[in-house]
């Protein structure tokens, strides 16, 4: 029971910590604006630089680094194991977090292997090229709403682009260059195979990734992510928020699946394929490999943030939002909103790791089949249905009805009547026991 209360404290601590962190982010952004004005520039530049430091360098990097430990510890809990606990600080393993330091130390002090046959420039450049796009994706994610700090308009978004989603697609497709170059420049046939696999997989899934978001674009009539978030705050029938997951559930599923393929993790880990080819980074050692691996985790965080922005209501707390807005000061309310988005992102990161430990990996032909024969046609159909609904009823009510029907169908297919196949072995066992009994 002690552990139960301790874990409750940990969960509460995470929530409070996220709230305090987002409050601090707002303050830093306000300070950035003030500093920019003092230097004679427009305050927006100061806010952008402050957000770049706090959200991307601090928030994103720490989140991704902790996720490397989270993957090991959480997978252990899902598989009824203990997980990393051998490094102890004053007798406590602290949930395996000290392993972060050990891993970093190991990566940084490893021998830097210099291959004789590599193409030197590309080989050295590839980790950075695969790291950069994953990192830069986060720039357009609106973490918090706009509010006034120190007299300046401040929002937790590095840059607000007219072409927000197009930027997302563009940068996401750049990620393939890093992996393909790493495979090519290593001058190793297995690495090349991994790079080619990565290229064909990512190009395929980019199509369904883009088409999955077309529905959201049409529903909210915008490409800017912050406007999408605001659009999700409107209430349908005065009680139901127009969340992407309600308006466009199929789009969300397709986007989530394609995003998974983009991160190149299991069950889509064919480019890595540690059981067959070691993958496009087979020749990389030390921190160069570490960057490749870290970029995967950064992609997880970024895609979780994008999914929660476009489909789960972004920074809207949803529950008690009106009450909170009335009773809180604007800055704490904004911090609460930002903490909500961070919490949603956290939950989706957990979800991605859970999926990674649930599903066995695909064969290569199955990956291509899933993309071109299932996700792509479904995404196209989703685009047409969404377009028709928006055309008939621009107020999103019809779309929400269709979306709710889709969710109900999925829930029924998933959970109703599933007992039909499962207890069969048990029935056999009962029959066997019944046979055995009379002779006894």
């Amino acid at each position: 029971m002690n552990r139960f209360f301790g874990m409750m404290v940990v969960v509460a601590g995470i929530v409070v910590g996220l709230f305090c962190a987002s409050w601090a982010f707002y303050q830093v952004a306000g300070l950035g604006a003030r500093a920019a004005v003092a230097l004679g520039g427009p305050p927006e530049y100061g806010v952008a630089v402050a957000n770049l430091v706090t959200l991307m360098l601090v928030g994103l990097m720490i989140g991704a680094a902790l996720l490397t430990i989270g993957e090991r510890k959480w997978s252990a809990m899902m598989q009824d194991r203990i997980g990393p606990n051998r490094i102890k600080v004053f007798g406590m393993s602290l949930g395996g977090i000290p392993f972060l330091l050990a891993d970093a130390l190991k990566m940084l002090t490893k021998e830097n292997v210099e291959l004789g046959q590599r193409s030197r420039v590309l080989f050295e450049l590839a980790p950075a090229i695969s790291f950069m796009p994953a990192f830069a994706l986060f720039a357009v994610v609106p973490v918090g709403p706009e509010t006034t700090v120190f007299g300046y308009r401040v929002s937790l978004q590095v840059v607000s682009l007219d072409a927000g989603l197009l930027y997302l697609f563009g940068i996401a497709s750049l990620a393939v260059y890093g992996t393909a170059l790493a495979g090519w420049a290593s001058n190793n046939k297995l690495a090349l195979l991994g790079g080619v696999r990565a290229a064909s997989q990512m190009i395929g899934y980019e199509v369904s990734l883009g088409l999955a978001l077309v529905g959201a674009m049409m529903a909210y009539q915008t490409l800017r992510l912050e406007e999408m978030v605001v659009g999700q705050g409107q209430l349908l029938w005065n009680f139901l928020p127009a969340l992407g997951v309600i308006v466009n559930p199929v789009g969300m599923l397709i986007f989530f699946a394609s995003a998974f393929a983009e991160t190149k993790r299991a069950p889509f880990d064919l480019p890595e394929g540690e059981s067959e080819i070691v993958g496009y980074f087979v020749e990389y050692a030390g921190m160069k490999f570490g960057m490749m691996m870290l970029s995967e985790f950064i992609e997880i965080v970024v895609l979780a943030a994008v999914v929660s922005t476009i489909f789960l209501g972004g920074w809207h707390p949803i529950l008690f939002e009106g009450w909170l807005k009335e009773h809180l000061q604007p800055v704490p309310f904004a911090a609460l909103c930002a903490a909500t988005l961070l919490l949603k992102t956290f939950a989706l990161c957990w979800m991605q790791l859970a999926v990674r430990w649930t599903l066995p990996r695909f064969r290569y032909d199955q990956i291509q089949q899933l993309c071109w024969k299932m996700l792509l046609p479904t995404a196209l159909a989703n685009v047409f249905i969404t377009a028709a609904c928006v055309l008939l009823d621009p107020s999103l009510h019809l779309l929400a009805v269709v979306g709710i029907i889709e969710i109900i169908v999925l829930a029924v297919l998933t959970f109703v009547g599933t007992g039909a196949t499962a207890p069969e072995p048990e029935a056999h066992a009962h029959a066997a026991a019944a046979h055995a009994h009379p002779g006894h």
């Binding site: 809990m77 599903l359 196949t421």
Partner: protein, 236 residues
């Protein structure tokens, strides 16, 4: 596809959709995660006997928690002491002769004023050479060497530390039998009152190696046999 890949036909629409099965799998995994996250892991070394009501964790954190070795496990040797702290060993060389690995080295000494008895001045076992066959225990006529410690030779950094001398081997509870020659004839090295105490404590004749005294502490073949007999009786 240049070659044919046989695809198992999924039986139902549900399985063909794949997504629903994935969601159900996720639900199971989430249950495991939450239970293991919020509730304390049980540390019962008998994993199958653990209660699986709250935590499902099935790990044994090895160096801190250990499964006890099964009864009859041949562990590290020990030399059985007498009540006066000396080994029961009479330096007859039977164990050293029986040893196929030749890992036992004994040097015999004479007792002052005793024309018959010998005792080991040195008794050394090289645990690196030992093949843990247990022949020495079988060969011993005096029940002076046993492998009932229930532990294995601990790891060391130096080979020399794996060579166990009498000082390290001589441990455990002392044992006396009524047929022990030093009890029947008396021994000049043991004081009279100590001898009387040993005679009082002496156990009856020791017959088989699977006697309860020769086993892992806490385990008794005799008790198990008695239980089995009682079960048979009860069935009748």
């Amino acid at each position: 596809m240049p070659y044919h890949l046989p695809q198992d036909k999924p039986v139902s629409l549900r399985e063909r959709l794949y997504l629903t099965e994935a969601i159900r799998g996720l639900r199971i995994l989430t249950g495991h995660f939450l239970r293991n996250f919020f509730f304390t892991r049980e540390t019962n070394p008998d994993i199958l006997a653990r209660s699986r009501k709250l935590s499902l964790n099935a790990t044994l954190a090895y160096p801190e928690e250990k499964v006890p070795y099964p009864p009859g496990y041949r562990g590290l040797h020990r030399l059985v002491p007498r009540e006066d702290g000396k080994p029961r060993c009479v330096a007859c060389y039977m164990c050293a002769t029986a040893c196929p690995a030749q890992c036992i080295y004994i040097e015999a000494g004479e007792l002052e004023g005793d024309p018959i008895e010998k005792y080991p001045t040195q008794f050394v076992i090289d645990e690196l050479r030992c093949v843990v066959c247990g022949f020495c225990v079988e060969a011993c006529p005096k029940d002076a060497i046993r492998m009932d410690t229930g532990e294995h030779a601990p790891p060391t950094y130096q080979r020399s530390q794996q060579i166990w001398d009498m000082k390290r081997l001589l441990r455990g509870t002392p044992v006396s039998y009524q047929y022990d020659p030093w009890l029947r004839r008396g021994a000049s090295s043991i004081p009279e009152d100590k001898l009387a105490e040993m005679r009082a404590n002496a156990r009856p004749f020791h017959t088989v190696a699977t006697d309860e005294y020769a086993q892992t502490p806490g385990f008794s073949v005799k008790a198990l046999a008695a239980e089995a007999r009682a079960r048979v009786e009860a069935k009748k």
